[in-house]
Amino acid sequence: MAIFPLRLRDLRYQPNGRAVLAGIDLELGDEGITLVLGPNGAGKSVLLRVICGLVEPSAGSMAWGDEGARRPAQGVMMVFQRPMMLRASVLHNAALGLKPLAVSVAERKRRALAMLERVGLADRADDSAHQLSGGEQQRLALARAWLTRPRLLLLDEPTASLDPSASAEVERIIREIRTDGTRILMVTHNLGQATRLGDDIVFMSAGRVCEHTPVQRFFSRPQSDEARLFIQGELPWRMRFPSP
């Protein structure tokens, strides 16, 4: 079953009456990298959690594919800012995503090792995952997700708190995953990264999508005042955190 286009209509998430998502309208096609930008508290990470099904929206609709399925059968993965690492080897962690699938242990290891090769961690396969640096752990998390061949990969600030060289390596892998045919929706605060990686930008503020435009246009001619102020670093506090 095709999972694209993904259409979100008036999607709301209001725990305890507080509008975290205040009516999201968004449509995603089947290829490219979409960057989600916006100030802290805009609802970016929550949007990813709603899309992957970890959070149930309070109202609105989410339709997958032309058939408009409410939930995708499979093919959606997410990599978190601080990914889970089992107290086990790098290889074991990489192969983890294949455990629920009908894949033999030997085949899991073979595929995981090949994937570690692609993300530059093959020589660390037998080391403990907890001994990896932050950047290496993020690469391992990407490898684990990539190994399941997702159609849509959601990335929640994968390069936050990484140094430039580790970030560059993560960005290289993200580009490869995209080339491999995976649609990517990624939250970032790094505007430079947005210009390097993104095909289009979803700009959010106060739980709403203010604009969804190609990258070049977003930075050269932002359509909304919020986006213009955000790029200039002057988005007022009250617009970031509206009173309930």
Binding site: L54, R87, K99, S128
Partner: protein, 234 residues
């Protein structure tokens, strides 16, 4: 020389000469407690992990019950197992009463709640951190349980040690279902109780020393293993 020092030196002499009676009792104790801890590990650890991971009605009640059963009086377990295994009981036909197997059953029932409660607590803390990612990877409930047990394996040594400590130091239940029969069901704790009441204090102290040394050695081994694992796997 005081009476205490004399008794103590006699006890040490018994150990130094590898007294046959002491050796027999120690071996049986290890077999019974080891068997109970093995069964307790196979049942208690998955049970605790299932409670931690599962979402079902009555989960809180079950958790409270398991915690409460950690302090289960061993004599109560002894009486219940006695009734179940006695000739007129539902399992009387198996003829297990006054055998080491009956003692293993009683001790297993004692250690399961302890091991399950510790496991639930350890696994629940980790589950809160891992739940979302395992859910996204479409892990089944059972896959999650096995993954978490594997991930917590070093911390769960504490649960196993606690079970071993409880089993080895327990006296009431094994006395009732084992009968403390010489060369058949006499273990360290029941022998210590009997020899003390008979006034044979050197044997009682010798067995007590073995018991303490064994528990300390096993704890030291577990501590070393955990320390190594923490350095190896973080």
């Amino acid at each position: 020389m005081s009476a205490f020092a004399a008794t103590f030196s006699e006890a040490v002499a018994l150990l130094a000469t590898f007294d046959h009676t002491v050796a027999e009792i120690v071996v049986l104790s290890l077999q019974v407690s080891g068997g109970a801890v093995l069964l307790g590990t196979l049942i208690g650890l998955p049970l605790g992990a299932c409670i931690a991971v599962g979402r079902f009605p009555g989960k809180t009640t079950l958790s409270v019950l398991i915690n409460g059963l950690m302090g289960l009086p061993s004599v109560v377990v002894g009486v219940v197992v006695y009734l179940l295994l006695s000739r007129s009981g539902p399992f009387g036909a198996f003829g297990l009463l006054y055998t080491p197997l009956a003692m293993i059953i009683a001790q297993t029932l004692l250690v399961i709640p302890l091991m399950a409660a510790i496991t639930r607590q350890v696994v629940e803390d980790v589950w809160q951190r891992y739940a979302e990612e395992l859910q996204l990877m479409r892990f089944s409930w059972w896959d999650s349980v096995t993954t978490l047990l594997y991930d917590c394996r070093h911390s769960l040594l504490v649960a196993v040690l606690a079970g071993l400590g409880r089993a080895m130091s327990e006296v009431g239940a094994v006395m009732i279902v084992g009968g403390n029969i010489d060369r058949a069901t006499r273990v360290m704790t029941t022998a210590i109780a009997l020899e003390t009441s008979k006034g044979d204090l050197p044997l009682a102290i010798a067995l007590g020393l073995v018991l303490i040394v064994l528990i300390l050695a096993l704890n030291a081994l577990a501590f070393g293993l955990r320390h190594w694992a923490m350095r190896r796997y973080g």
